[in-house]
Symmetry: C2
Subunit: 136 residues, 2 copies
C-alpha cells in the first residue's frame, strides 16, 4: 500500500471531520459522492441510502446542533485502489461539555474529482473494551 495514497485517504477523512465539526453543509456536500450508493448511518440510527437521504440526515444534524467538537482518534487507513477505508473513534463533545465516544467506518472512492466519501457508519461505544482491549 502506497504511503502517498494512504495520506490522500487520511486527508479526505480530515476534510470530512472538518466539515462535520464546522457544521458546514456545503463542505459536507463537497466531501461526499452524491450518488445512489452513498450510505450513512448515525449513532443508533437506521441506514440512510442514496445521497438524498444522506444529505437530509446531515441537514437534520446541522439544524439540531449549535456547537460540536470532534476529536478523531485511533485512526487506521487502508487502500485497495480505487477504494480506501478508515476506522477510527470520534470523541464528540457538545456545548454542555459532555463527550460521547463514537466508532466509525468511512469508505472513500477515488473518482475523477478525487477521493469522495461513499459510506459513513457511526456507532455508540457503549462497552468500551468489552472485547479484546482489556485483559480477561
Amino acid at each position: 500500500m502506497s504511503a502517498a495514497i494512504q495520506a490522500q485517504v487520511l486527508e479526505a477523512n480530515r476534510r470530512f471531520y472538518a466539515a462535520f465539526e464546522a457544521l458546514d453543509l456545503d463542505a459536507m456536500e463537497a466531501v461526499w459522492e452524491r450518488s445512489s450508493r452513498a450510505a450513512c448511518l448515525h449513532p443508533g440510527g437506521a441506514w440512510l441510502i442514496g445521497w438524498e437521504e444522506v444529505r437530509r440526515g446531515w441537514e437534520m444534524i446541522v439544524d439540531a446542533t449549535s456547537y460540536i467538537e470532534v476529536e478523531v482518534t485511533g485512526v487506521d487507513a487502508w487502500v485497495e485502489d480505487p477504494l480506501g477505508w478508515v476506522t477510527c473513534v470520534e470523541r464528540v463533545r457538545g456545548p454542555d461539555g459532555q463527550v460521547a465516544e463514537v466508532a466509525a467506518t468511512n469508505i472513500y472512492f477515488l473518482g475523477t474529482d478525487g477521493w469522495r466519501l461513499i459510506l459513513h457508519h457511526a456507532s455508540p461505544v457503549i462497552r468500551a473494551g468489552a472485547f479484546g482491549a482489556e485483559p480477561a
Copy 2:
C-alpha cells in the same frame, strides 16, 4: 457493476451470516481474511483490529451464546474491484425470543482464495427511522 460479481459478494455475505448463526468458529475463520487489517466491531463495542483480536471477539460471542437466529434484511451490495461492500440490517433473535435490530457494514476483499471479509461493523438500531425513514 457486474451482476455476477455482485452475486459473489452476496454469497460471501451469506456464508458469513451462516457461520454466525451456526456459532461455528471454523466456518467464521474460513470467511475472514486473517490479516492485520481485519477489523471488527460488535454492537456497542470497541474496534477489534487484526485477526487475533477479531478471532477472540468471535470466540467470546460463541462461548457466551447458546442459540441465535440471524435474519438478514435490507441488503445492498456494491463492488469496486477488488472490494465489495454490503450494508444490511440483522434481526438477531436469542433463545428468549427477543429480537434485536443491528445495522451492519461488511467489506470483502477478492484475494487469491476468493472473497474474504476484512471489516464487519455492527451497531444497535436504537432509533429506527430517526433519520430519513419516517415522515417528519
